[in-house]
Subunit: 249 residues, 2 copies
């Protein structure tokens, strides 16, 4: 497999300095694409170029793309990783976060990854976080973990660059394909729909199971067994609920 393609996605960026710095970092760390979702500033302004320094040619390389929705920015990407300084409090499944290093080591197994960063002022919304496969954060001082946007990007890109330039024996393992993971996703969605009490529960169950599939780095054979189990269970439950009114508790 070729090297993982890295796409940086910035949502609603507010500052020229930050954007310029991030453009420079994209060049420093060989980022393939930079997607800007509804930036609040002109990304091609002189001010941005000034902060991009010798990275400013990246702006004219065709690799910087402006879109209007997060969905557009994530299209065609195999794994989406969103980022937040605010790590989950107890019980908040949505905000359960991976460490940036773990996230990078997972991402290298995919053909492409989107690293999604929120606004300087308010970060990403809960809806935006829910739209991504995994959430990642940078370990820092618990009393003040909030890094400036461009510095958070620097650390994510640095870890991603390291992961992608190293080869380990793990790469030789027969890792489950993205397509087969998406097939398992379908069975998870089906099962969650069949057994959840309401729509919210269905979403959380399915999100948690899908995340577990991705984080656990299954081999092709392992994923085969998991999918087989999910598929059989799904068929039985479906048929059963169709036939009669089973006590669902």
């Amino acid at each position: 497999m070729d090297r993982t393609k890295v796409r940086v996605v910035l949502v609603g960026t507010e500052g020229e300095a930050n954007l310029g710095f991030i453009v420079r970092l994209c060049k420093n760390f060989c980022v393939d694409e930079l997607y800007l979702v509804s930036p609040r500033i002109d990304p091609f302004s002189e001010e941005v170029r000034r902060f991009a320094a010798h990275g400013s040619d990246y702006l004219d390389s065709g690799r910087v793309v402006v879109v209007s929705t997060l969905d557009e920015a994530l299209s065609g990407v195999a794994l989406s990783v969103c980022t937040s300084a605010h790590v989950g409090k107890e019980g908040d499944v949505l905000r359960k976060a991976l460490d940036v290093r773990e996230a990078a080591s997972i991402a290298r197994r995919y053909s492409s990854v989107a690293l999604v960063f929120g606004r300087e002022s308010v970060g990403l919304t809960r809806e935006e976080i829910a739209r991504c496969h995994v959430l990642a954060h940078i370990p820092a001082n618990p009393e003040y973990p909030t890094l400036n946007l461009s510095h958070a990007v620097a650390i994510f890109l640095y870890e991603m660059f390291r992961e992608l330039s190293a080869r380990s024996s793990l790469d030789l393992l027969d890792i489950a394909t993205e397509e087969s993971i998406r097939i398992a996703d379908k069975y998870i969605e089906l099962l969650a729909k069949l057994v959840a009490s309401d729509d919210r529960q269905k979403k959380v169950m399915s999100m948690t199971m899908k995340r577990m599939l991705r984080i656990s780095k299954l081999t092709r054979a392992e994923l085969g067994y998991v999918t087989m189990m999910l598929r059989r269970v799904g068929r039985i439950v479906e048929q059963c609920l169709k036939d009669k009114d089973v006590n669902r508790l």
Copy 2:
């Protein structure tokens, strides 16, 4: 031994924005002291404070010290690490550099470390590099490895922080207990028994699912959803198979 004391040393810093960002990073990553060798700007200016954001109180904490020579900045420090984007060409002993991660793992063995960063424009002189124990660099795009000063500091401090904190904010998350994982195991075993074609398949299915549960380091809440899903599915399948001969494929 107590935790290694970390001192950031900036030589001849030229920009308020960079200094402000670095002050903020010192708070983000629990740096003990920030020494400024002949800064070209007023380190306590409003402009610096603006970029330091919520880290600006660090400027008033007594931990920011202005000195006029590098020697003063290194006094009392057990290990000095200087940094450069320009890694040694063959044969240039002075510029033989460690990777930032190696440097951090070495530094943790000392009671105190100084991380020395040069000017935005020209970095450190050969004399200044010679004054430090080791030279370290950040692996990056060989065609453009020069990071902005504050971003280089971010990555060094991040690596240092990781090395020095055995516990990070992720550890504070509410991780699923072993007992609750064993409860989920029971439902997995039940399901595997119900849907596997034979004993070997049952064993592999259940082993794979159990491993996935453990590798994915679920929180208590996430495991709650997974267990709920498994339990409900298990009940339905069990009842169903008892009641009638469902097509098991």
